[in-house]
Assembly symmetry: C2
Homo-oligomer: 198 residues x 2
């Protein structure tokens, strides 16, 4: 009964985080009823994500000609202070506090197994060789994971692994409620967590 384009849309969108089959169905009809121009605009908004590049230093997105994102290109940022975050949205939340003047490494979302995935290992090795090449040892590496049990587990693992590469390894202060998520912390809480990092 449902035409193929609707079925296809539901299959693809219900696979995205936080969108189930019901919401995908509703979205499909919302778009159909929105008209052809709006459908084209939405399709283009998705398609244009294709043109984004990934920073060769921190793995955030950018559109610059050289391989670096706006943060890594910024000469006022201290390349010797690195915040390791899981997700782009964590970086965005930290940037919003305007208190962090270092750079980032986006590691990718941690699995609950306690072990890093191969792409995450590659990114860590990339950070180590950057540090080695640039200064031998960073001033500080902030491991900014969610304060959950497996965030803590991964902190301990990474702190040990990165300790030869930084004078100081820190994590965000427990201003953030334990069990919560960086992405949902308000800016003040997150700012004080940055200032009181331990």
């Amino acid at each position: 009964m449902l035409p193929e384009p609707i079925k296809k849309f539901i299959v693809i969108f219900s696979d995205l985080p936080g969108i189930g089959i019901r919401q995908a169905t509703r979205l499909a009809f919302k778009m159909v009823n929105g008209g052809k121009n709006s459908i084209e605009e939405t399709a283009k908004a998705v398609y244009d994500l294709k043109h984004l590049k990934i920073c060769s230093r921190c793995f955030f997105v950018h559109q610059n000609k050289d391989g670096l994102c706006d943060i890594c290109r910024d000469s006022s940022r201290n390349k010797s202070i690195v915040a390791v975050v899981e997700k782009e949205t964590d970086l965005i939340s930290l940037e919003r506090t305007k208190r962090f003047k270092g750079v980032y490494l986006i590691l990718g979302e941690l699995t609950k197994t306690g072990a890093l995935e191969s792409v995450q290992k590659l990114r860590l090795n990339h950070l180590k060789s950057l540090i080695k090449k640039e200064s031998g040892q960073a001033e500080e590496i902030i491991i900014a994971f969610n304060p959950t049990s497996y965030g803590d587990l991964n902190f301990s693992m990474l702190a040990k692994e990165l300790s030869p590469y930084a004078k100081k390894i820190s994590r965000l202060g427990r201003g953030i409620p334990t069990g919560g998520e960086i992405e949902f912390a308000d800016e003040e809480t997150l700012a004080s967590a940055l200032e009181r990092r331990s």
Copy 2:
């Protein structure tokens, strides 16, 4: 700091029902990290909604050469029994019960003002002239709105307006919990609501 394509994506997607700015941001990065092929596939799934046609009889979607959807083309469906529904998703839920052998009219979502919008008035007039042309009077019109206070209000209004056009005006039996929504009813509840319509 955020590249233009990400910002644009967030603006468009956070405007869709049930998706806020945070979820739109997360979706954007999920897609970027999914890679170029997956982005293209998703963009195409949106774009292809453009090719859908709207049934000239009931306003459901279709892809047929004539102007009619699969339900309205089906000669086994009784054109003299019409279910008036708000949304396509309500039609889908009713079809899933496999108990309804009539046809539909999709009216569009009711506003809480109690008044019909101009496109809804046009669709009602369309139904009236179809009935006039085909049989003079339909056997039954089922006004299948959510059993909420403004659904009931609109039922009374429409029942009065449509009474010259059908031998019987009915609504779904109150098997559905009052205050709930058709879209979320399980198939059994909805089937008995269809059977015990009053």
